[in-house]
Structure formats: C-alpha cells, structure tokens
Symmetry: C2
Subunit: 337 residues, 2 copies
C-alpha cells in the first residue's frame, strides 16, 4: 500500500532508454557499462527521485541494511519504560543515529524469544545485544539461526566469543578503587545488581581481586536492578548495621543515589564519614546532594565499535574484536575530601 506509487527500476529504465539490468548495474557500480551510459542513467534516476525498494533488494541480496537491537538489561527490568535508566536509553539514541550515519536502520526488538516475534526480526542483517546474561536464550536463538550478532559487553560463560565491545570495566573499577584509596578509604563495600551479566560479574571480580591484593575482607551486597533508588535507601540500613565502611561503590547510579540518601538519613555524612561512588553515571548520580562521583560510560565509542564489528561480520570479513573503549571518571562531591 505504501509502495504502490513508488518509482520502480522499470520506470527509470524506460525513461533512460536502457534495460533494467543497465540501471541496476549503473546504480550499484557493477557490470561493464560505459562511463557515459552510467552517468546518463544516474542522472535520470536522480531526476526521477528513484530509490530502490529495500524489500525487493533484500529478497535478492539477502542483506537489508538494517540491524536489530535487543536491550537485554531492560527486558530484565520487566517494565520496559523504567524512569531514569539512562544508560540504555542513551544507548538506543546513539545506536540509531550512528547507524543512520552508516546508512543502516535500527529495529528495536524487546525480546526476541517472546511471541509474537516481529515479522522482520529474522530478516535483519545482524543484531546488537546489550548485556547478555549467562546462558542467554536470545544469544542461543541468534546462534541457532545463524544470524550474526555482537554484544555490548562480554558474553558470560563464553570467554571464547570475540564479537563484543564495551567500556573497559576492569580499568574503570580499578580507577574508582584507586581514587577511593587516595581519598583514604581502606574498607570499601560493593553493591552490585543481580543480573548475571558481564557488567556485574566483571566489576565484582575486579573488586574481589583488589580486596585480595590488599588482604582486606570484601563486603559484597547484591541488590536487584529493579529495586531502584528505594532499594538503595533500604540497603543503606544493612550496610550501616554491618559497620560503616570508608566507601561504598555501587554499580548503578540509582542504587548509589539510594544508598547515599539512606546513609545521610541515618546521620552518616557523605563524603565526610564515608564516600559514595557509582559505576555508571545517571541523572540520579548527578542530581543527588552531594552529587555522586561516577563513571561516565562512552556509548558513542562503544556503539561505533559494535557497528564496526557487526558490519565486518555481515560482510564476511574478518572482524577486529573484541574492542574496549574508554570510560571517564567524573569526580563530584560524594568523594571530595
């Protein structure tokens, strides 16, 4: 219906006085046409405002110029419209605009394994999956279907899988911990989420190693991603009951904001008595009082890397991966001493 009044290759061919093949070849830079003919056809096509139908093209070429995007982490949150989870919201925006710059479309697929599966889902050239879980069914499905995919963050349990990119989580964690240590912190508690994704797992591992290196006992708390700020407030009670640490390192901005709020409500001064820091920046971290130091992720660089890898994969070229991007530690009041 939408396409009925479109200009087809046939129209261009007729108008240019050549065959359909000639038009296709001219426009795609193939075949053995003379430069003059090629130029002529291009002119006519431009004049007529011809644009090849993506469907028909995809049918033959079986490449669509479109990639799917699955936000695993939002799926886990259940509610698909959580407020203040800006990491992924920004990721979507960046992915859309960067893909456009490369002439690709981005299709949003909430969860590829839930029915009904969107009709186009399996026609995508490839997929970007953010934060796959351990034994992620979405990854398994893509694998089974033979659809190329890249992941934002390592695939847990698959150390061999190379096609991923993300910020250097280990470096970020090290940088944060070094910063806290420089501020005089000896005991640091870690608050991680419950999703078994690379984000939670890698940062936890780094933290544990850091503790081991220093011979200090780790203090590890788990807090469901969906618990949000309120969960953090509550958790602050448990943390103080267990003895106030010199610093609390929360993996998400929402949890950090909640924990800080909870600590202060209990009379624990931040940053005087204990410091708070977030592993990923967010509105919550920025808008807290004091503002919370946090790692600002780098969606622009990460999405760029992911698209590089995915495009190579789709083209059947060798992908140059994994790739790590640089995050940046934003120092704010919550760790200023």
């Amino acid at each position: 219906m939408a396409r009925t009044q479109g200009i087809t290759i046939k129209d261009v061919a007729r108008r240019a006085g050549v065959s359909i093949t000639a038009v296709s070849h001219a426009l795609n830079g193939k075949g053995t046409l003379s430069a003059a003919t090629r130029e002529h056809i291009r002119t006519v096509a431009d004049e007529m405002g011809y644009e090849a139908d993506a469907l028909a093209r995809g049918l033959r070429r079986s490449t669509m110029g479109a990639v799917g995007l699955v936000l695993r982490s939002l799926d886990a949150l259940g509610d698909y419209a959580p407020a203040g989870v800006d990491v992924f919201e920004r990721f979507v925006g960046v992915a859309a605009s960067q893909a456009l710059a490369r002439g690709l479309s981005v299709m949003l697929v909430p969860d590829l394994t839930r029915t009904p599966v969107p009709p186009l889902a399996f026609s995508m050239d490839g997929y970007i999956v953010t934060d796959p879980h351990l034994d992620d069914p979405v990854v398994a499905l893509l694998e089974k279907r033979g659809i190329p995919y890249v992941t934002y963050g390592r695939v847990p349990g698959r150390p061999d899988f190379p096609h991923w990119a993300s910020e250097d989580n280990v470096a970020s964690a090290r940088q944060i911990l070094a910063h806290l240590e420089a501020g005089g912190a000896r005991s640091v508690a870690l608050v991680r989420g419950t999703d078994p994704n690379a984000w939670n797992l890698e940062l936890q591992d780094t933290y544990l190693s850091w503790c081991a290196e220093r011979g200090t006992a780790p203090r590890l708390y788990e807090l469901a991603e969906r618990a949000g700020v309120e969960g953090g407030v509550e958790l602050a009670g448990r943390i103080t009951d267990d003895g106030i640490p010199d610093a609390v390192f929360c993996l998400t901005g929402r949890h950090a904001a909640g924990v800080q709020q909870g600590l202060m409500a209990r009379g624990v001064g931040v940053p005087e008595r204990t410091m708070v820091v977030a592993g990923s920046d967010s509105e919550h971290a920025r808008n807290s009082r004091p503002a919370i130091s946090a790692v600002e992720l780098n969606p622009v660089a990460s999405v760029g890397a992911l698209l590089d890898i995915l495009q190579a994969l789709v083209a059947g070229e060798e992908a140059h991966s994994p790739r790590l991007t640089r995050a940046r530690l934003r120092l704010r009041g919550s760790t200023r001493r």
Copy 2:
C-alpha cells in the same frame, strides 16, 4: 546471508505433499481448502518450524508488520543522546513493547529527511511522528509519499488533520493553573520552549487564555529546549529582575529544575516565596530539592491510542481519532504550602 538456511514455503509444500498455493492459503486462512488439508498443512508447517519470510511477504502484500518512529523533538535537540530527557526515552520503550504485543516491529528513524535515508524507511507500513513542528518537512515527506502516519500531538498549522493522539494538554495546563491559584498564586509566569510544536503552542495558548480570563498580564518566557538545566538557572535571573511572580510554570522538567535552582540561589524560597511546577515530569523534577510538582504524562495510553489509529489507517479502515489520554498531576514539595 542470514536467510539462506531458512525453511521456505516450498519445503513445506513438498513435505506436506501439496502445492505452494495450498500452504499459503492454509496458513493465511484464505482460499477454499478442506478443513482436513488445512489442518494437515498447519501441522507440517509447525513441525518444520516454518516462518514466512517477511521480505517476500512484504513484496507481495506490501504490508510489513513494521512501523517507523520519528522523534522530532530529539531531532531538534541536535544531540541525539541527551541526558535526562526522559519523556521521549520512555516513549521509545513503550512504543517498542506495545508494538511487539500487536505483532509489529518498531524501526527508529532519527530524521527521515536527512540523507542517507535508511533503506527500509519507505517500506514501513506507517509512521509515528512525535511532536511535529509547524511546517514539518518529515510530515510533508510522508504526505507526499502517501505513507500513513499518526502524530503524538496535534500537527501545528493543520487543524484539519485528525490522526493524532496525546495527553490532554489543555486540561493539564488548566489543572496546574487551578492548583497554583488554590495555593494563592495570582501572578504566574510561563516558561516555554522554542520549538514550534503543539506542546509549546497549546500550553501557551491555554496560559494566555487563563490570564485573559483573570485580567492579569501574562509573563511569557521562551527558553530553548537544548538550554537544559543551565538555561533555567540563568533565566531565573531575568525572572527575578522582572519582579518575582507567585509561581513559575515551566513546560519541561529540566527547565523547571534549573529555574528553581536559580531562584533559590538568589534567595527566593520555594515554595514559600514562589512556587515552581513542571508541565512534564522528569528525573530532574523528581530529584530537585524540594521535589517539583509536575504533570506525569501517560505514554502507555498515548502510544496505545496512536497504534490503534495507525493500524486502522493502514488497514484502510476508518480511524477513530483524534484521541486524548489522561495525564496526572503529581503534587510535590515545590507547590506545597
């Protein structure tokens, strides 16, 4: 490439011992097959895990089961990954999950008029355009191409165009103004954005009428959407210089947060000396001190209405539009007296 190993209708036909036509008819509930054959074919198809190729289907049917989404307001912001603009981020998430529930895909198209245009863009069944501008080129393009579209918010300058839905902005504005009045406010300043979209225009009109009805002089300020919180802080200076109003009604949460911050920095107490309220809720509004009263939009209802209209349009049925949804005023500290 991704589709090479797929099971085609031909495979199913062979296995079921019938013609291709029979399979198509059985699966789509068309034609004049006997119940027995139909059932048999369905069973075989299920067994083989057959799924019709969306491209080939789209090529014939010219309906794709996919809609495009253009976020006009984000285009206007330039940066496609602005932090803390949660209205649209939520909108995207809601649109994706609601569309999925209806068996539709959502394709994100940053700006349909910028090149390169994503290949699939013109193959979509229809479009959702959020907050179209006055003389919006995206709308013009869709119109010219004959692609069905619905808009989130009225199309400015086209009072005749019926295919839109949104929260009832007029009612929201009235509700806010009534609330301020009940709190004792006589003079209310309005801070609107600069984009010429229905949101800014309708709320402004309602405000002006309200002032006229009361015989009070309107105090209207314009602040570019992209000015964000900082812009609000600065604007607070101008507002106080012009004489402190009883309340400031900002159309966006970011501006409200900035204005409130700026007012308080100048020693103007909120809510004691003047009240602050936001036309759309956001992280900024929620996390300010005091928290800012704001209208919580209703993306779930609005997206639902938009999809209803769009589906009717695509099916060639009569659309039942426009449709207004209910927003909700969240009262917080910034207006509590």
